[in-house]
Subunit: 282 residues, 2 copies
């Protein structure tokens, strides 16, 4: 198929669909994204590889942001940091060019979303630092492969996300409250879900709460702040995990002159195995 | 006992021994250290609490050093970072004052050891950043409690440490080769030792090699570069872990104008449990 539609100012030569990419390697998916042929979400692609939340920000706040991530490892599991001005991330993947290898980016200026684009080559600057953070796809895959159902995946929805009242540990201009995801889990599998997800510190780790949403400041599970509401069946408990939207929210509130993130669901796909001991390619 | 000996320029009011502190809490051990009453090593003290390697360095190289630690998580497991100029480390412990709460410090200027002192209040500056890294005490305790012998502890020696030929992933002025420790493990327990230590990413994680020392550039296990040689009994394999001396070595080679580390074995004792999911106090 040829699709000469302009996407975010860049012209795609060909277009591939999500289903075309099922079974493709991380390198091939990134190549399809880099060429502009694929601009969709990355859930289910490059199975077994780590996918990453992305924060690209000026070097003069990068030390504080790394401190912030170190102090809040469950919402912000640090998996990669670039050199200043260098679009490569060699510890996460071969030949990654962060200016083009994510399907969809959000550009924020002074705390306001100003653009959603499929390439940030035009926005790139010598003082930008890329920070990659783990994402929930990793532990969801582990839950599913251990026979634990994940409702929003079963029903083809986006995970429900909520602002909680859990204070983050601040660093410089970064702080606020944690955003959490909720997944209903059968009561008899809650302990197993906790144990499995704890094995993935690079992907939010164990749940941060189970049960009554009021304990963490959520008033109505039927009204998520982001994503879609899901049903909780009889015999299930709502289980809450730290969410990768937390750092996006924190960055937004910091009102940086420039900051770039991935668009939700449009993650950086690494060459690192999602169950590797570390997130460093060897 | 009263001991008015000047230690590194500071006067101790009373002196307590290592055995006096067995069973004392982390807070009490830190208080004894802070007052100058205890200036010895911390192995076996405040059982169950995380102990930390320490690197204190100027803010203008802190971003690069955090990048270096993120890229080399096995030798440099990041467990705490201070604000610039702030001697507290609230995510690791209540009321830590890093200028006085370590029993013995090494001060390096331009890559040369210039002082070994028991307090760095006089050296402290507004641009210093403290970086705390996990240490091997944590996984050694886990090995011992699972019935796996640790030879250097059995024999009252220091762990043997060796320069390896394993290249570190560089960042800014920081790079070089990994330093490793060696522990002889009975062949039938090597897999178990690997599995146990892998559970402690905050403490060097799983071994980086097993068997022939030549594979990682070590010519003679009887001649460690630091620490003491230990016997390898019939039926045992030499097992190599990433070592916390790596970052000290890397800092030394970077030739920073000022850099402070703990003295070997004289660790920062945190209030965080060594088997906690994260190293952040909650």
């Amino acid at each position: 198929m040829l699709d000469q539609t302009a996407l975010g100012g860049h012209v795609t030569a060909t277009t591939v669909s999500h289903s075309d990419l099922i079974g493709a390697s991380a390198t091939d998916v990134r190549a399809a994204i880099r060429s502009g042929a694929y601009t969709g979400h990355t859930a289910g692609l490059a199975a077994g590889k780590l996918q990453c939340n992305l924060a690209i920000l000026p070097e003069n706040v990068a030390l504080d942001f790394l401190r912030f991530c170190q102090r809040n490892p469950k919402p912000c599991p640090l998996v990669g940091v670039s050199d200043s001005g260098d679009p490569a991330l060699p510890t996460l993947g071969h030949d990654i060019d962060i200016r083009s290898d994510v399907a969809r980016y959000r550009v924020f200026r002074n705390g306001t979303l100003t653009d959603e684009v499929t390439d940030i080559t035009d926005v790139w600057a010598d003082d930008l630092v890329t920070v990659a953070l783990g994402c929930s796809f990793t532990f969801e895959n582990a839950l599913l492969s251990n026979g634990i159902p994940v409702r929003h995946i079963e029903t083809g929805r986006n995970v429900p996300m909520f602002r909680s009242n859990i204070d983050l540990v601040p660093a410089g201009p970064f702080g606020g409250q944690m955003v959490v995801t909720m997944r209903p889990i059968p009561k008899h599998q809650v302990d197993q879900a906790r144990e499995i997800s704890r094995r993935y510190p690079q992907a939010h780790g164990a749940p941060i709460a189970v049960g009554d949403p009021a304990q963490i400041g959520i008033s109505d599970l039927g009204q998520p702040d982001w994503g879609d509401a899901v049903d909780i069946h009889p015999g299930e408990m709502p289980v809450y995990w730290a969410c990768g939207v937390t750092p996006q929210n924190v960055l937004l509130n910091a009102g940086l002159p420039l900051c770039i993130t991935h668009a939700p669901g449009h993650m950086l796909i690494a060459d690192v195995a999602e169950d590797a001991e570390t997130t460093i390619l060897t």
